[in-house]
């Protein structure tokens, strides 16, 4: 009997691949070059908009940066005033025959230009912080990462087993899921004051907020993922003589592992969104402390640099985990297009 080749069962990959590229064919599979191009484009587009707004004065620039105060007594060099206010004062000066103020159109202080943010980003790593007791950006970030790590780890250690049990045994699920459904509507930050009262003002309450924000979603999501496991696999295992705990350890857990891993990636993303609120609780720390400090001194370029840094770390971690996932689960077909 002729043996079909090993990839005979593979789904036919690019069904609509043709010589000419079709960018807007419905539901086509993009080739590698297209994917790269569009992926870079998705970042380039917003940056382009930012550049246009920053460098083309006629696009927005609602303020005037004073270069020469002229006769206006309260103007100072470098000051930002509204366009209308500037024109009004200039008219006043014309009427009073005093020296005219001079200025250039500028954006508000809270919208620095791309190059300023880029510079602030580099300086955050090269020049020490102005105040002695202030952390470097990377120190602040490292502190934040630790808070997330412990919160997420604690949540996962309880949430994953509970979710798997809930998804496997209807009785376990019914015993906790209605309450968890209810609890997940309670906003995690609402427990801030309570967490401080119980756990003090340092990292304890922050970790607790990350935990509360993650845990309840986690149980429900993992339980749902477990329920989605093809029942045929469990039945096949039963007919092969599998019983009791081994049904859980040898079939359910390996069966859901790739999906569980994907769930964890999504949940980790959510944990980051709780971070800023969590770090405001008790004594402000980490990246949040850095950001609020810099905003207080109106160093908005550094604020953006720090926010950007969170994005880099979060997105970078996720990309890394996606890569790792493909290594860990070679049988998983749904990661092919990740």
């Amino acid at each position: 009997m002729p043996m079909p080749s090993i990839d005979a069962g593979l789904p036919l990959k690019p069904a609509l691949q043709q010589q000419t590229r079709h960018w807007f064919a419905v539901r086509t599979v993009l080739d590698a070059q297209q994917r790269l191009l569009l992926g870079v484009g998705s970042f380039a587009l917003p940056i382009l908009v930012w550049c246009l707004v920053s460098y083309l004065p006629f696009v927005w620039h609602p303020k005037m940066e004073i270069r020469d105060a002229g006769g206006v007594d309260y103007f100072q060099v470098g000051m930002l005033v509204d366009h209308a206010q500037f024109l009004e004062e200039r008219d006043n000066m014309v009427a009073q025959h005093l020296a005219l103020p001079r200025g250039v159109p500028a954006n508000p202080i809270y919208l620095p230009a791309p190059h300023e943010v880029a510079l602030a980003f580099v300086r955050a790593f090269t020049t020490p912080p102005e105040q002695k007791d202030q952390p470097w950006l990377h120190e602040a970030l490292w502190h934040s990462i630790q808070v997330i790590f412990w919160g997420f780890l604690a949540s996962s250690l309880i949430g994953i087993p509970l979710g798997i049990l809930s998804g496997t045994y209807a009785a376990v699920g019914r015993l906790n899921e209605p309450f968890i459904e209810f609890f997940r509507y309670l906003p995690a930050p609402a427990f801030g004051a309570l967490a401080v009262a119980v756990l003090g003002i340092y990292d304890g309450p922050k970790i607790a907020i990350i935990f509360i924000g993650t845990f309840f979603q986690q149980v429900l999501i993992v339980a749902n993922t477990t329920r989605k496991l093809d029942a045929t696999l469990i039945e096949a295992a039963l007919t092969l003589g599998t019983r009791g705990v081994r049904l859980l350890t040898r079939v359910v857990v390996p069966g859901i592992l790739p999906d569980l891993y994907r769930d964890q990636r999504i949940l980790l993303g959510w944990a980051w969104t709780y971070l800023i609120v969590a770090e405001l609780i008790g004594t402000s720390t980490g990246i949040t402390f850095f950001i609020t400090q810099q905003a207080r001194y109106q160093h908005f370029d550094r604020v953006y640099a720090a926010i950007f840094m969170i994005g880099v770390v979060g997105f970078g971690t996720d990309l890394l985990l996606a890569r790792l996932g493909r290594r860990l689960f070679p049988w998983d077909r749904s990661t092919d297009q990740d």
Binding site: G9, L10, A237, T239
Partner: protein, 309 residues
């Protein structure tokens, strides 16, 4: 369905050649592996009670190949799931070697219609699963698995993952995975239903080869009449709503079977009988009856000279 005009009338499907009759006599001599007595099944659903099976009685003898056939929804899957112990029954009893079955067990192997291989295990590890569950050491399990992969001709793919195999190959692994446990009976629920015609034909031949060479009894569900006749010693014909035994047909086609027999008179006589049972001429097919009456009103939308026939 139209068929070529018959040159001579088909013999009765009950007519058996002496050799075939002797074979059936021998089969009846063997001990029954599986006995089903007064089996009934009711599902309690929100819409009310559904009687899926009513008073089923039959026995399958050692190394017999029995096919179950019937219209869709007549309870074939329900029956085989009860036999496998995956579904409780409402009345009657199921005996395996004279003892009532309780829950699933390794003495009844099962091959499912859908792909039921464990996607996280390689082909070899899938086949090793059963022996490992029964406490065999890794070496022993591996030896058995490789032996069975050899039987189904998949040694080369031992380290491949199921998703890398074609549909037919996956079902061969599923068969090996069930047989490595040396079950008393192999239960198969439309195992080739999802395969294309060519692969299915090859798999049928392959299954007959396996069945010939090892001591296993097969209960095989299908809705394909040709498949049932080609494979089976006896065919259990079910009717729907509720699922009841309509007839237990002894297939008069002699063994060993070959695709050449599809045109033989015994084959065609049996098929004619099955068709009469499953698609009664006066009454419409079960599913078709549920469809609303559609009266097509066709208007010619092409040029009068543009004929396709």
């Amino acid at each position: 369905m139209t068929r070529p005009p018959e040159d001579f009338p088909l013999p009765d499907y009950l007519d058996q050649s002496p050799a075939v009759r002797a074979r059936f006599a021998r089969i009846r001599q063997r001990e029954p592996i599986l006995e089903v007595r007064g089996l009934g099944k009711r599902f309690h659903t929100r819409q009310g009670e559904v009687e899926a099976l009513r008073d089923l009685n039959f026995a399958v003898h050692r190394r017999e190949f029995v096919c179950v056939i019937g219209p869709s929804g007549c309870g074939k899957s329900t029956l085989i799931r009860i036999l496998a112990g995956l579904e409780p029954h409402s009345s009657g009893e199921v005996l395996l070697d004279g003892a009532p079955v309780q829950g699933p067990g390794r003495d009844r192997g099962m091959v499912f219609q859908g792909y039921s291989l464990f996607p996280w295990l390689t082909v070899k590890e899938n086949v090793m699963f059963g022996p490992e569950m029964s406490g065999a050491g890794r070496d022993e399990a591996e030896r058995d698995a490789l032996m069975w992969l050899d039987q189904v001709g998949l040694t080369r793919f031992a380290d491949a993952y199921p998703h890398q195999l074609s549909g037919g190959m996956r079902q061969r692994v599923a068969i090996a995975r069930a047989l490595v446990n040396q079950p008393r009976i192999l239960l198969m629920d439309e195992p080739f239903g999802a395969l294309d015609a060519q692969t299915r034909a090859r798999m049928q031949g392959h299954l007959l080869d396996i069945w010939r060479n090892i001591d296993v009894t097969v209960l095989f569900i299908t809705h394909d009449l040709d498949e049932a006749i080609y494979l089976a010693d006896r065919i259990l014909v079910l009717k729907a709503h509720p699922g009841e035994v309509q007839e237990l047909i002894e297939v008069p086609v002699p063994r060993p079977r070959s695709p050449g027999q599809f045109a033989s008179v015994e084959f065609r006589a049996t098929k004619a009988r099955l068709e009469a049972l499953i698609h009664p001429p006066q009454e419409q097919h079960d599913e078709a009856r549920l469809e609303p009456e559609i009266q097509p009103r066709l208007i010619r939308l092409t040029n009068v000279n543009d004929d396709v026939e």
